[in-house]
């Protein structure tokens, strides 16, 4: 399993592997928003936590169709399905690798990009914590969506449509906790809800995803 994780990381960091794609997209979104909204710092400060969350969600979505489709195309998924490690573990490991490649860099750069959006001082910690807690849910829900569309050619559009509604609860609680932090309120309740969503997704979706992959491989 460690081998699978390392393989995915190695692949992502080599040429054409998509490492940095998410961060670049996140950067573009966050840099463009002040131009679109205008330079009023109060407005930017109000919307900053939400923009950071929406940007993180979209850049996560961007790389989802590579999550399983590449392995399906080159036949590795067939071979992994007949290999001694359970398909549920394959899903978890691939989602974990996706999280490390896509979301961890976002969590790291989010505070720096917060400056561009005039993010209030008290919110930095909240944005980092909510992203850290919430983005694993994005990866594992995305893995489930990727499993649903794994046999389809150009399934990216369908994947986005399937996954977006599932992302909404994560976005609501993540952005709410960050916003409360920005307003100087206590964001513990939405943060706990966010953690609950992440843990529930991690507990349930690998089994659903593995089940769907088995059906799609038939």
């Amino acid at each position: 399993m460690i081998a699978l994780f390392l393989r995915d990381l190695r692949q992502a960091t080599r040429a054409g592997g998509g490492f940095g794609l998410g961060v670049a997209f996140f950067l573009i979104v966050v840099v463009l928003v002040p131009f679109g909204v205008g330079p009023e710092s109060e407005i930017l400060a109000t919307i900053a936590p939400g923009i950071l969350w929406v940007g993180a969600l979209l850049s996560c979505l961007l790389s989802l169709d590579r999550l399983l489709a590449l392995d399906y195309e080159d036949g590795s998924l067939d071979l992994l399905a007949t290999a001694p490690i359970p398909l549920e573990a394959v899903v978890v490991i691939k989602a974990l690798a996706h999280w490390v490649v896509t979301s961890v860099p976002l969590v790291i750069v989010a505070p720096m990009l917060g400056v561009l959006l005039n993010l209030p001082g008290g919110a930095y910690g909240w944005v980092v914590i909510t992203l850290l807690v919430g983005t694993p849910a994005l990866s594992i829900i995305g893995a489930f969506g990727a499993a649903l569309t794994v046999g389809l050619k150009r399934g990216g559009l369908l994947l986005s449509l399937l996954v977006l509604p599932l992302y909404v609860p994560t976005l609501i609680f993540g952005a709410e906790a960050a916003r409360r932090g920005a307003d100087g309120l206590d964001g513990t309740t939405p943060l706990l809800m966010l953690a609950g969503i992440t843990l529930a997704s991690l507990a349930l979706l690998p089994f659903a995803a593995a089940w769907v992959i088995r059906i799609n491989l038939r």
Binding site: I2, A3, L4, R7, R10, Q11, R14, A15, G16, G17, E73, D74, G75, S76, D78, L79, L80, A81, T82, A83, P84, I85, L217, R218
Partner: protein, 212 residues
């Protein structure tokens, strides 16, 4: 080791393609699967490998004894030959990849990325994966595609060694590998298409009855 497959019925996309396939496979034996295109060779192999359920019949081939080799090699383009093999070795819990490299004459290519290999070299790497699985039953789908004569001989040698060590192989292939293989022709097992005329007439009668 003796494996028995009896009365296996396979479907492809819901349509039955093979019916009542029965054969036995024992240690040291090679079975060559023959039959025209579309007869269901791949479907049978995928069913035996556990990738799709059989509609009926039994097979006592355990999934954890099978090394399945498909049309696609499962190689990662940006990983080198050694990295690809090491990955599969780790997945199957083995460590020795040098035998696999030497058997398929890949020793000079170890540091090359899979995307820079020729089609035949890729295929050889895909076949070398079988050796690192350490599993006794090889189920291979057209293993010799894009191999030249010398590479086919390498492959035949690998199969021979595998069988001498107590393994066995089920190979769908259109060319003669020069192995002592039993031929299993799938043509007699082709599923009979359902006679649509009778089905439809029954359906129509019922409809009429419902309305009259």
């Amino acid at each position: 080791m003796q494996f028995q497959v009896s009365d296996l019925c396979c479907t492809r996309a819901g349509v039955p393609v093979l019916e009542n396939v029965s054969f036995s496979l024992s240690s040291g034996q090679v079975i060559a699967l023959r039959g025209p295109n579309g007869i269901g060779k791949t479907t049978l192999l995928r069913t035996l490998a556990g990738l799709q359920p059989a509609q009926a019949g039994t097979s006592n081939l355990a999934i954890d004894q099978i090394a399945y080799g498909a049309h696609a090699d499962g190689l990662k383009a940006t990983l080198t030959v050694v990295e690809n093999l090491q990955f599969w070795a780790a997945i199957y819990g083995t460590t020795d990849i040098s035998t696999a490299l030497s058997t398929f004459d890949l020793e000079n290519l170890t540091a090359r990325q899979a995307q820079n290999l020729s089609a035949g070299q890729k295929r050889r790497l895909g076949l070398a994966r079988l050796l690192v699985t350490g599993r006794p039953v090889w189920i291979l789908d057209e293993p010799t595609v894009s191999l030249d004569a010398a590479s086919v001989a390498l492959f035949a040698n690998a199969v021979r060694t595998h069988c001498d060590n107590g393994g066995c192989a089920l190979i769908a292939s259109h060319i003669d590998l020069g192995l002592k293989a039993e031929v299993l022709d799938l043509t007699p097992y082709r599923a009979r298409p359902r006679t649509q005329a009778t089905d439809l007439s029954g359906f129509d009668d019922d409809q009429d009855g419902a309305f009259l």
